[in-house]
Symmetry: D2
Subunit: 347 residues, 4 copies
């Protein structure tokens, strides 16, 4: 009954097997290998167009490099006030950009709107060179509150962004869960909806450590390779990143893993919402359940061995009852049912 | 007959197996896992003292973080003029330190001396705040010319460094090869010889992607975790870095792998040096052979399928005959012999 | 009737004269001059202790260098949400610190309180290394809403800061106005109240361009000279900065200039507050009046040649009636009276 | 007999007078003033075209901002190995660019050549992303050895730079002296010769503290204002920078001041070169004399009250006899003659 994080999950067997299969003899270093070439082709299929890309080991690296490509060091990056990039990446975006400012904007249920963004600008209007110019809009998909932007919502946001001459980045640490949730394609939820740069995560969804930074705007790609290298994120043995990502995309493994995780979250969410005194903080649309559990119930569950964390974030009222439950590719339905049975008994 | 780089090598079977063994159930993220705790203990044995450490995927990351701990952004890092950190890391040290200057100093056979370092300072004496203060001495072990610093040589260099109030960093991408080569212990070649920070490499010697940054000076360790995090080098699933490193250190695997690589380099070096018209650029003391091969011989070898690169570096006379041959844990003696037989035939 | 900004004011005659007087023959460059030595002595008198200091031309430079001394690049600087350092310095603090995050905290009438600061931390508690550690508290004196912290208020804030292991910086662009307003001494409003670094402004109060960064905490002063130099803020002909600052401090000129400016603001504030439909946004305690003027009254005043700006800031309700009126050392009582007469006639 | 530096000189009377004349009533801040507008027009005359420009107080600021406009943070700036930007600006270029590397290249008599630059690249050829890409060529005019590039020499260098896709920056701290020395126009020695960005100095030639950064390449100018602001180099009372620069350019004052300084250097150089045992290190073409004086002669001169410094630099053999003598706008012919008389007597 471990619902602490999708970061605690093991590697999906298919991906581990791919690492073993990649381990044959010598291979050119730094991306000159055959698996990287094959990944390039596979990405073209999945995203329905050629892409510039970089393979890195963490989401913070992908996000940091992305923002450094899209923002000058004197720019402001607009993001949700509860976004991971501004709250929990230890200042990676500031480091990578060389000093850009992340400006948190409120938005209900973890989601930004054009109206909310415009209000933030109106409250502190452009005044060059005193006010740092807004340079980037960064969206998280799925959001930090377990909700998902539809393709239509993204299109509205990116249209607004373009009206403000902003580039648009998507932190897609849980992009797979959003694709599954919306039923839209990878292309529809990214460049077709106006996204310029996508941090496409695999680690939370079954990889050992593999994230793809995809750059859809040719003009932004020039600094990609040198910025990856100077950050120490160009692996010499890149075949082992490519192998993970290829296996992830092969036979739609990524979608099957995310579908499993999402289904377990649904099961958990519905089961909990049916209990008296339990309310959801936001609709469960991906693999995270944000829910208010009475404190005695929390204690009973933890006492019985369940693992999960309380949740606080800017924009949410302080509350001791709010917790986050995360499912993943290896969450077993039995575990979820055991947790729910325990909850029903303890409530 | 691939002698291009130790970066082209596959993962050592023991390390790959350790990844599989680590893949059981959930584990706390970000270093809270059991393997990281075990690594901590194992390091204390290998280095004969407690160490601060960070696990990262690349040597450039380890070097960059290390230098950012030891140098203020307005400092100068003294290093060999042919050192990897100043020539081929894409500016990682400058990025991580926030603008420190790497000052290349000449030295025969890839090695710095206190005399040479002092001469560099005398040629451009301290003049604060106009001249950036020297802050760090960075040494490469094994060196960029395949030679190795003995414990005594290191002690002399670090004594000089201390007289100049410099911290001392060691880029130990091939530290294992140096330990095997000198017969000294890990402790004797690091903190006992006055090293403050060690980038202890495993990737070139059989890991998938794993490097350890070891900090021996407590005062320098404060920024270690936040700097690793902001650079996107803190893995969520750190157990898979710890597993590699543990397997590497278990039963002295790291020394066995390096001993194999060094032995193949010796075989190669001796075989080539015996040929007419062939001369070594520097003694072969680790797993790299820097040797002058007549151009027709190079062409014959490449024509027969051998892979290796020409070598240029500051401080070396331009020459078309100089090449680098690298061996590694998976280099087979048969491959070396085949290469030598070919060379004997073609010379 | 120009109340646009104290930045529009000319140089006080005494300071201009001092520049001329300093223009005799050669003088050692970079602070080796006699005037800098005399300034050092004079500062010791005014602040009742020895100080580390740097002379620069702008407040943004003083603030930026100060914050870079007090915060690591991965730290968070707590400041008022309407503070100049986070809103209107074009990202100078981020640039100087190498990527620190400025976190705006609300507070009534431009002033922070320990309670408000603690609430901001509680809403997003420390979680190293994910959450950037809070490193500095920066206070503006006089505040961005024309109010002034008393010595007692400062002591309470710095006591709280010390309990959180924060360094305390004061942006004293209008420090002189606060000293005059409170009647406290320079020492009482700075280091005696727990301030570690003070940006002590002269430019808004009669200098050509001169700001002093004072560092009261010895441990923070090590990087002062190299950081000033690398930012291009060490003047070769420093005598002309020292001359301004000496004249400013001589015979308490700084206090006389500020007293004049404050008195004109009082006159303006009282005169306006007596008018029907006019309300102050905050009490007038220094040389700025934040006041709500009906839009037709604003138009009448501007139509008659008066200059002043509307005022918006985070934490204030959007309003078209809010304006800022700034007085300075050269504001004539006649100008103020003319403005008030016009206002009385037009209301 | 002070020949220590042109930084020790006072303000030229015309420039000091202009400061007083600018001190009338209020003026818009941050460059909205009338003097800045007039400077814009005057620059268009002097440089025979419209220019983007920024007014700052120091040459390090002008150079730093310029290089940050022309180089990405992962770029290499090629410059003379003895150049001020790499040796004595405390790391300003590294700070402003966010980590670019300054690569020193040798060249006789302080001057770079296309041949020497090409040789430096050939010794360490491009290897992206490992080797930082060369991004900028920075030239010093007059050079650090008191010599001057002719328009033809500049054209050859910038043609080579363009063949390597490099931007070209000129550190013109002594640009006026070079214009006078060559007889070429300001335009001929800058953009007409292929210069993209010019740090045009006035401080060493009679200003209080005033340097102009001129950007001739429109594509590079976008970041000019925000980078100036974030560095704290945008003066609120910019009229006092504009006033200095206007007076400097009025009636060719800048050329008259430089002509005087150059003439005194000629007088000094010829007088010294005629003495037995005295040799010039480089031809005297601007306002600096680099000359070998026997140590006893140096001692005699210093004993008699003369001030001047020994000179060391990369690329020059260590020598105790090499000194630098600098003249400036306020150097009196009588002082020079007194020095020469003393030298003749003491030799």
């Amino acid at each position: 009954m471990n619902f602490a994080s999708d970061n605690t999950a093991p590697i999906a067997p298919e991906i581990l097997a791919a690492l073993g299969a990649a381990n044959e003899g010598p291979a050119p270093a730094y991306g000159g290998d055959e698996l990287t070439a094959r990944l390039n082709s596979r990405l073209e299929e999945v995203f329905e167009r050629p892409c510039h890309f970089a393979l890195v080991a963490t989401g913070s690296a992908a996000n940091g490099i992305a923002l450094s490509l899209a923002s000058p060091p004197y720019g402001q990056v607009l993001c949700h006030e509860a976004s991971h990039i501004t709250l929990e990446e230890g200042g990676a975006p500031e480091f990578y950009t060389g000093g850009a400012k992340l400006s948190g904007v409120p938005g209900a249920q973890g989601k930004l709107t054009a109206q909310g963004l415009q209000a933030a600008i109106d409250a502190h209007p452009p005044l060059p060179p005193h006010v740092m110019p807004r340079s980037v809009l960064s969206l998280t998909q799925a959001t930090e509150l377990g909700t998902v932007y539809t393709a239509g919502e993204l299109a509205a946001l990116t249209a607004w962004a373009r009206s403000q001459v902003l580039k648009v980045h998507m932190d897609g640490a849980r992009f797979a869960n959003a694709v599954v949730s919306t039923g839209a394609s990878a292309a529809e939820l990214s460049w077709k909806a106006g996204i310029d740069l996508l941090s496409f995560g695999a680690t939370k969804n079954g990889a050992l450590a593999a994230e793809l930074l995809l750059v859809f705007d040719d003009a932004l790609a020039e600094g990609l390779a040198p910025r990856q290298k100077r950050a120490g994120h160009l692996w010499s043995k890149q075949r082992y990143l490519a192998a993970q990502m290829l296996a992830y995309l092969e036979d739609d493994l990524w979608l099957r893993l995310a579908a499993h995780a999402n289904a377990q979250a649904q099961r958990l969410s519905k089961g909990l919402a049916a209990l008296p005194g339990v309310t959801l903080e936001a609709p469960t649309e991906a693999n995270e359940v944000f829910v208010h559990l009475p404190v005695p119930l929390q204690e009973a569950l933890r006492g019985a061995g369940a693992t999960f964390y309380p949740w606080h974030a800017p924009g949410l009222n302080p509350s001791e009852t709010r917790v986050r439950l995360v499912t993943h590719h290896a969450t077993s339905p039995e575990d979820v049912e055991a947790f729910l049975a325990l909850a029903r008994k303890s409530v």
